[in-house]
């Protein structure tokens, strides 16, 4: 048992990437094609067994191409309405293919590309929020807060629930009867200086995303691990974005130096938890 566990921990980047990508792909693709969960499971078993059987590089390259082609077709058909994490999955797949095409440099190649993806992802996430006036002036997060959507697990507590349900019902009624531009609905705040605090939080979120974009490149793994773990937990806690969190944890595991086994185990456990949540239909994916 201990030996088997050590083998998993010692997975090299290429193999880790291969398995992680396959799991993520197999979980995501059937969602598009509305396949039932039994099909998902048989896909996972079928392709993972193919992976185990295919130890030679040519077979692995063919597998990567097939997987990317499947994903490419799905992306092409639904380009504008596809969630961002499916694009992320495609980039991860591309790194996988490149790692097999340039097998002798695969380690540095995976490390550099995963860092680049993480960095660009956080940078553009921050940039999009700066471009959105509703986010920048705090109105969007305030709107989400009033509906109880900013941190849904907290807002499901009895103390707050009535306030949010009242707001949601008032908005629903307003939307049903909305007829002209000047109609307005006043929603009372829950605490003093509510807008100011939420505005501050909106700016804080933008700063955090831009800081994380830079933090990908720092060498102190401990600080990096703490910051990204807080972000991942926050992502799950506030938005339940299981699809995005699973891919992020996979990328974070891939960018770690080979010696950081414990951090790698943590990210892989996180990846498995998120993947399981997706299979059971929990969260956004």
């Amino acid at each position: 048992m201990k030996k088997q566990l050590l083998e998993i921990i010692n997975l090299n980047r290429s193999r880790l990437l291969h398995i992680g990508f396959l799991i993520a792909l197999l979980i995501s693709i059937p969602k598009f094609t509305n396949l039932i969960w039994e099909v998902k499971i048989s896909w996972v078993i079928g392709i993972l067994s193919l992976l185990v059987l295919s130890k030679n590089t040519k077979m692995a390259i063919s597998l990567w191409i097939i997987m990317l082609a499947i994903l490419g077709v799905v992306l092409f058909q639904t380009y504008y309405i596809t969630a961002n994490h499916i694009f992320l999955l495609f980039y991860v797949g591309m790194i996988g293919l490149l790692s097999k095409l340039f097998i002798y440099e695969s380690n540095e190649l995976i490390n550099f590309n995963t860092k680049m993806i993480l960095s660009l992802l956080f940078f553009f996430g921050g940039l999009q929020k700066i471009l959105s006036l509703a986010f920048l002036n705090g109105d969007l997060l305030h709107y989400m807060f009033l509906r109880g959507e900013l941190a849904s697990p907290v807002f499901q507590m009895d103390v707050f629930q009535n306030y949010f349900i009242e707001n949601q019902n008032a908005m629903k009624l307003f939307d049903q009867n909305f007829a002209f531009d000047n109609q307005r609905l006043y929603l009372k705040p829950l605490f003093n200086h509510q807008h100011l605090i939420i505005y501050g939080f909106s700016i804080f979120v933008i700063i955090i995303e831009l800081v994380l974009a830079c933090m990908v490149w720092i060498k102190n793994q401990k600080i990096k691990f703490i910051c990204f773990t807080i972000f991942l937990v926050g992502l799950l806690f506030t938005r339940m974005e299981t699809g995005f969190a699973s891919l992020l944890s996979l990328l974070l595991a891939l960018q770690l130096p080979i010696s950081n086994k414990y951090y790698k185990i943590f990210y892989l456990i996180f990846f498995c938890i998120c993947s399981l949540m997706i299979v059971f239909g929990i969260g956004l994916h």
Binding site: Y79, Y80, I81, T82, A83, N84, F87, Y91, M94, I95, L98, F102, E105, L109, F112, N113, M116, I117, L120, L121, F124, G125, Q128, K129, L131, S132, A134, F135, N137, G138, D139, L140, H142, Y143, L146, M171, F174, D175, F178, D181, Q183, R184, L185, Y186, L187, K188, P189, Q194, H195, I198, Y199, R239, E241, F244
Partner: protein, 133 residues
């Protein structure tokens, strides 16, 4: 050759990602939502499924049970109001008028005054001739 090899190894994926993001941002003025399309703009704007379609001032109900094709195309149009999507939507709504005002309305909240309302986000006027009707 060595440079090309290095380019493919280290720059191909980041450049593709950057290109997709800028392509998506360039479509914002055509009404594309930041939530989808590879731009990593989730939670940067109001969720498109909270938007409404209004045709000639009348709110169109997107109900899965009542009209599944309209529900599917309506949701696509809320995310991406392209000409093709709008056309399909109008075909499914079947309005009788020759001049069609197609609008998308989104929620709007003003934090400083604590006031909620709805705002026109996208509009298009289509004039149909008798033949196409």
């Amino acid at each position: 050759m060595r440079l090309l090899r290095k380019f493919i190894q280290y720059l191909l994926v980041p450049l593709l990602l950057t290109f997709v993001v800028f392509f998506q941002i360039s479509k914002f003025d055509k009404g594309l939502s930041s939530w989808k399309g590879g731009g990593f703009g989730m939670y940067a704007d109001y969720y498109p499924m909270s938007f409404d379609i209004r045709v000639n001032g009348e709110k169109i109900l997107l109900d899965k049970k009542e009209n599944l094709p309209l529900y599917n195309h309506g949701r696509k149009t809320l995310i991406n109001p392209s000409e093709e999507n709008i056309e399909i939507c109008i075909e499914l709504i079947k309005p009788t008028a020759d001049t069609i005002h197609f609008e998308i309305w989104s929620p709007y909240f003003e934090g400083s005054t604590q006031q909620y309302s709805r705002k026109k986000r996208y509009e298009k006027t289509i004039i149909r001739n008798n033949q196409s009707k």
